[in-house]
Amino acid sequence: MIRIRNLTKKFADLYAVKNLNMDIRAGEIFGFIGPNGAGKTTSIRMLATLLEPDEGTAWIDGNCIQTQQEEVRRKIGYMPDYFGVYEGVTVWEYLDFFARAYKVSPKERNKIIDGCMELTDFTRLSSKLVSTLSKGMQQRLCLAKTLLHDPKVLILDEPASGLDPRARIEIRTLLKELSNMGKTIFLSSHILTELADVVDSIGIIEKGSIIVQGNLEEISKAISSSASSFAIIISLFQGQKIEQAKGLLENLPDVIKSEIKGDRLEIQYSGKEEEIYQIVKHLVNNDIPVTAMSREEKNLEDIFMQVTKGEVS
């Protein structure tokens, strides 16, 4: 659905985005992650036809962002990171304006506006002035506006920034619902927890270039397999004999360090994956009441911290 090839944008001598290459399948939720100043918004503005790339191009549903701008604009629903609202208009009038702007047929317009308001939970607030809405509600309203012309692709720049936890959860639920409706969603964020539950795949950008891209699980596995050691958590029954267990494990050659965390023991293991069972065997042979053992999974934050260096373009 979205194809990006060698997309490059330069501001004076500074590369904001350099040779960006990406493929996003239809119906996918793609998380575009990167530290502040990494080039996320510049890339998104190029995709939304607001900035002209210096080199390379991108296609959205087969339409080039440089030569077929009008078609691209019809295919996308764009929500910028910062946006304003018109004072003195109600929620319904605001949506009516954008429906007219997107040339939604007059016959269908009222029905579509009502449908979008229902989806974003605005039905009861239709006559409320837009300027009196809270930040979270305005974000939701902007999302409703992007849905009016039934776009195939949603490009959302930091959709949950500045929102309280409740509003963030609401936006996440809405995104999942939109994904179920078959929309391709391209969203950027630097708040990783808000993306982790929603995205199908991610791309991490730093200094204007993509460093990691792909399915979240695949990336996690790839990073783990490339790492020289990983963490293992061992649970003991009511924390009994925890000090004895710690001493036993420290004597093993592949255990780099061990640490007590409540009634659990966390160790850093540098051995082979297929030999992990030896740890359990060693503990059980020494009469240690082991109740569970698990390998610590890498979450989005760990991946992000591991692959980025915190540099800006």
Binding site: T67, R73, Y78, P80, E87, G88, V89, F98
Partner: protein, 532 residues
């Protein structure tokens, strides 16, 4: 057509920006305050005028009526200058500052629709201001001295001036980067315009009220001068209004979409002014054919219009092909067997050169037609056939310059080189060669066209030699072929040079096209490989 279909059609005509602006502004307290204040001013002005006029000794009722009306009219003119820009000067910049501009641009609204929506909204407020004050002016009818015609004409003038002020304020709102600057810029432009426009407006009003020369002029049986007096201001107003409108639209487009638009705008407005000059020329000739002053006037206009066209086209011939990125072609639309109009307007190097060539030919054809239709007769010292030769000299020279800049664009590797090469060529042909003439005059003891002073390459010298009819013309012949005037040699050289330049550009153009195509194909292959 059924009722529902009519409603649907009419609904689709409504400009969304206009509707939104009306919804937001008409509800605001600021609008109500401004509206009430302007009406209060009008009422106060009428009462004040009445008191002043009533205190005059031996004043007739029709003089009171005229006094009230003129006071009211100038107050309306003041309201126009103050309030019209107030509702427009922040039109686009406020969208940018409010961060709603990106939402507008990424919607399905074209820049022209955004600008016309903003214009219509501002014009609606202005219209309301002016129309709301209309009942007040009726007070003047109680005293007499004015007619319905003058009221209609005055309101017409106010509405046209309001249109101009709004367009300039709107342009200011896209040109400046902050609201404060946009407001200052807008009021500066409007006040400058109103200063100059106030003279004819005051003149017209005073004439009607106290002399009625204009009215007498129009009350005569139909004659061509009446058309001229109406046509010229209309053409000037169109040319004044079209420029800010197009510039505003242009500034809303992304940079790659408006590469050559600013130049086209430049031509559009300039050509309207030139056409109005020609209209004036033709009409004045038709009105009194054969009169000596008409001949002189026609000749002056001919030289003025030709020079203006030549300068405009020279700028375009150099600038338009150079808009293309180096190397090759940034964007070339699909070409059929025959060049289509969009193809001519495309910002490719060769396309632009062809476009400039066609445009210059068109402009000089207008000169030729105008001369033929009006039966242009030259003064004694001006050759009858000169206007055709001059047109030909300029056209062929401009075609050559245009093709050369297109060639440099395709050949040079850097921006700097292509600009330097093109400007050097223009400076040599337009400035350096005519400067060689005084030196050759010292050596040759008078003007003598020769191989080494290259006078036949200067379009200006060719034109001068073409215009002159006295003995000096014989001295201006090319010394190798003394019977051939230099302008014919100039035309021949530039024709051959243009032909060879065109032949030279074609393979370069094809090469550039191939490069673009290869790049596209490699990207396509890359895509397919990725998909697989």
């Amino acid at each position: 057509m059924d009722k529902e279909k009519i409603i649907t059609t009419m609904d689709s005509w409504i400009n969304p920006i206009w509707l939104l602006e009306l919804r937001t502004t008409l509800r605001s307290g600021r609008f109500f305050a401004a509206f009430a204040f302007s009406l209060f001013l009008c009422v106060a002005a009428i009462i004040f005028a009445l008191l002043i006029l009533a205190s005059e000794y031996r004043i007739t009722p029709d003089q009171i009526g005229k006094g009230i009306f003129s006071t009211f009219f100038f107050l309306e003119f003041f309201v126009l200058c103050v309030f019209f820009p107030a509702f427009t000067c922040t039109g686009i910049i406020s969208e940018k500052e409010r961060k709603t501009f990106d939402l507008l641009i990424t919607s399905d609204l074209r820049p022209s629709r955004i600008v016309s929506g903003k214009f219509l909204a501002a014009y609606t407020y202005g219209f309301l201001f002016i129309i709301a004050s209309m009942p007040l002016v009726m007070v003047a009818f109680l005293f007499g001295g004015i007619s319905v015609l003058i009221v209609v004409v005055s309101y017409g003038i106010l509405l046209v001036l309001g249109m101009l002020f709004i367009l300039y304020s709107l342009w200011s709102s896209t040109y400046y980067k902050s609201t404060i600057r946009a407001i200052i810029g807008s009021y500066s432009m409007v006040l400058t315009y109103s200063f100059f426009l106030s003279f004819p407006v005051i003149g017209f009003m005073m004439d009607y009220l106290y002399g009625k020369q204009v009215l007498k002029f129009f009350s005569k049986p139909f004659n061509i001068n009446q058309v001229m007096v109406i046509l010229i201001p209309i053409l000037i107003i169109i040319s004044l209004g079209i420029l800010p409108y197009l510039l505003t639209i242009n500034s809303l487009k992304p940079p790659h979409a408006n590469r050559s638009t600013s130049l086209k705008i430049f031509y559009a407005s300039s050509i309207i002014v030139i056409l109005s000059l020609f209209c004036f020329w033709g009409i004045s000739y038709l009105h009194s054919p054969g009169a000596y002053y008409v001949q002189r006037e026609s000749y002056t206009l001919f030289i003025t219009a030709t020079s203006v066209i030549a300068v405009i086209l020279l700028v375009g011939s150099v600038g338009l092909p150079l808009q293309t990125k180096v190397p090759g072609i940034a964007y070339v639309p699909k070409q059929g067997k025959f060049p289509t109009l969009p193809w001519l307007f495309a910002p490719g190097a060769l396309n632009s050169a062809v476009y400039m060539g066609v445009l210059s030919l068109l402009c000089y054809s207008i000169i030729f037609l105008a001369c033929s239709l009006t039966g242009f007769q030259s003064p004694g010292w001006f050759r009858q056939e000169s206007f055709i030769i001059i047109s030909l000299i300029f056209w062929i020279f401009l075609l050559f310059i245009s093709l050369s800049s297109g060639y440099f664009c395709l050949r040079c590797k850097t921006e700097k080189t292509k600009w330097t090469a093109t400007l050097a060529l223009v400076i040599i042909l337009v400035v350096i060669i005519p400067l060689l003439v005084p030196f050759s005059m010292i050596i040759d003891n008078g003007f003598q066209a020769s191989l080494w002073n290259f006078s036949y390459l200067s379009p200006i010298l060719c034109v001068i030699s073409c215009v002159m009819q006295d003995d000096t013309i014989t001295k201006m012949n090319f010394n190798l072929f003394s019977f051939i005037p230099i302008y014919y040699i100039g035309i021949l050289i530039y024709s051959l040079a243009s032909f060879f330049m065109y032949k030279e550009i074609i393979p370069l153009h094809k090469e550039a096209l191939k490069r673009v195509k290869d790049k596209k194909e490699s990207l396509k292959l890359l895509q397919e490989a990725k998909t697989e």
